[in-house]
Amino acid sequence: MTITIHDQLSNGSAGDESDGQLLSRMHQGDSVSFEALFHRHYQRLYGLVFRLVGNRAEAEDIVQDVFIRLHQKPPSDGRNEHNVSAWLYRVATNTAYNAIRSRNRLWQRNQHLVPDKRDSSAGPEKAAEQEEEAQLVRAALAELTPMHGQLLLLRQLGLSYTELAEICDVNPNSVGKTLSRAADAFRKAYLRLSVHADAEGNNP
């Protein structure tokens, strides 16, 4: 009988293994393990990256790049060797942050060119307001450290403190405190940017 990769993934022979075990097998050249890691993390990584970059094609490209890097240079012994999820989310977050920071200025310049797509059934004015708010939230996130931004977004994605501790490489006992600091930093950045945006709105 021939067992395909999909069979192995669906019957759990790869799905039951930890990330660390899959990574070890990847190091030995096992392509099934790579595919298992992809399927395990793809959707959630996309969710994280999309929230940061706000663009489907760009988010898909970034996630693909992350897995290309995993394939070409998987994290090796000595540096978080078995915490693959921490590595994946860190690389994805850093890459997304690079993307948003480098084009932040461009976005600000061209805000009026961004097509409205959010809840357009609510009317163009409402959709425009939502888009503006999303950009403001994204700009505030871009001012945080990548780790703070990542923590907040993953929490918003519904991850538990235990999962956050593992993925963000944070001491489980300090997740709450770190989240609180991240939220404070976000609120301050958001407030500052809102004031700035209002001032610009009043002085076109």
């Binding site: 793809y42 929230r51 394939h71 690389v91 989240l179």
Partner: protein
């Protein structure tokens, strides 16, 4: 967790993907990934580093490439950028390329750098006032000179170029994140503390004017000429320890790096790393200007780089060292 925290989490919900923002299904995405993984690399590993350097100049990475030398570290791990307000009052230091310092680096050091995984780390926030775009093809040299009036120095006697393009203008500013910069150095095995504390938050700006890019079929010759990029930095910015870090980053021992970094004028010198297993270099004269000639060890390809009247000129092709020199000197 308090109410304010929950408000922030609720506020972030606006970033959730809508129905139309959902990604392609995982199976399809994995198929796309497999396709990408099995595509041949766009740039074969066998291309020597110095040729990649010149190749970069034909792409939008020119700014980074050009800047790479002096605060070459700013290229290598500071990923440099810059600002059009290069001479604003808060900037007291200014760098322009006036000379070149070729340094030999071992193949191991080069391989280490290429294999190093910086995990998307950037040593600060880079903001482009004007992002350098890919060179745009033009119909004639006259048109190129009209678009880049300060760039043209000369053209070798090879007839009409097969391609002429103009581009590379850009300006932006890097605000240094010291912790990130140190982390990158540490990954490369260099003591991050070489970078001084007061570097944190410094604005380092670079501005490039448009350059002219030419290619001839004969000898697969390419030429880039453009005004030297200018890099401005705060007055308290000491380039020496950063230069030392750059040299160590490129594989030099600490003692060698200290000695050399003390002898280099970091305000005007572009460092050119040359891998010893692939190429050799020598100092020559081109049209009366000191120049660096880099020749591949198999003799099949040579590159020349020099500065004249504030312009940087690079000429490269499938020529022997003597042939390329003759071409450059007319």
């Amino acid at each position: 967790m308090n109410e304010e925290f929950e408000d922030v989490i609720a506020q972030l919900a606006i970033l959730e993907p809508t129905t139309e923002d959902q990604p392609q299904p995982a199976d399809a995405a994995f198929a796309t990934l497999q396709h990408k993984l099995h595509q041949p690399a766009a740039e074969p590993k066998s291309i020597p580093w110095f040729r990649r350097f010149t190749l970069m100049t034909t792409q939008q990475k020119w700014t980074q490439a050009a800047v790479g030398g002096m605060l070459g570290l700013l290229i290598a791990f500071f990923g440099l950028t810059t600002s059009g307000q290069a001479l604003a009052s808060e900037f007291l230091g200014l760098f322009r390329v006036q000379k070149f310092a070729p340094i030999s680096i071992s193949p191991e050091a080069l391989a280490n750098l290429e294999n190093m995984d910086f995990e998307g780390m950037v040593p600060g926030e880079m903001v482009w006032d004007e992002e350098a775009v890919e060179p745009q093809q033009v119909a004639s040299l006259d048109e190129a000179i009209a678009l880049a009036p300060n760039a043209f120095v000369f053209a070798p006697d090879l007839g009409e170029p097969a391609e002429i393009a103009v581009g590379g203008a850009g300006s932006g500013t890097l605000t240094v994140d010291l912790a990130a910069a140190r982390a990158i150095l540490n990954i490369a095995g260099v003591d991050g503390n070489l970078l001084p504390d007061d570097l944190d938050g410094s604005d380092i700006s670079v501005a490039t004017e448009p350059g002219i890019f030419m290619r001839w079929n004969e000898g697969d010759t390419t030429m880039v000429q453009m005004p030297s990029p200018s890099i401005s930095y705060p007055g308290n910015f000491d380039p020496q320890p950063i230069g030392q870090a750059l040299l160590q980053f490129l594989g030099m021992s600490e003692a060698e790096a200290v000695r050399l970094s003390n002898s280099i004028d970091w305000t005007s010198t572009l460092v050119l790393p040359v891998p010893t297993d692939l190429a050799s270099f020598q100092e020559v004269t081109v049209q009366g200007n000191p120049a660096i000639l880099i020749t591949e060890n198999n003799g099949s390809n040579s590159s020349l780089i020099f500065e004249t009247s504030g312009n940087v000129v690079m000429l490269q092709g499938n020529w022997s060292a003597d042939e390329l020199l003759e071409l450059a000197n007319g």
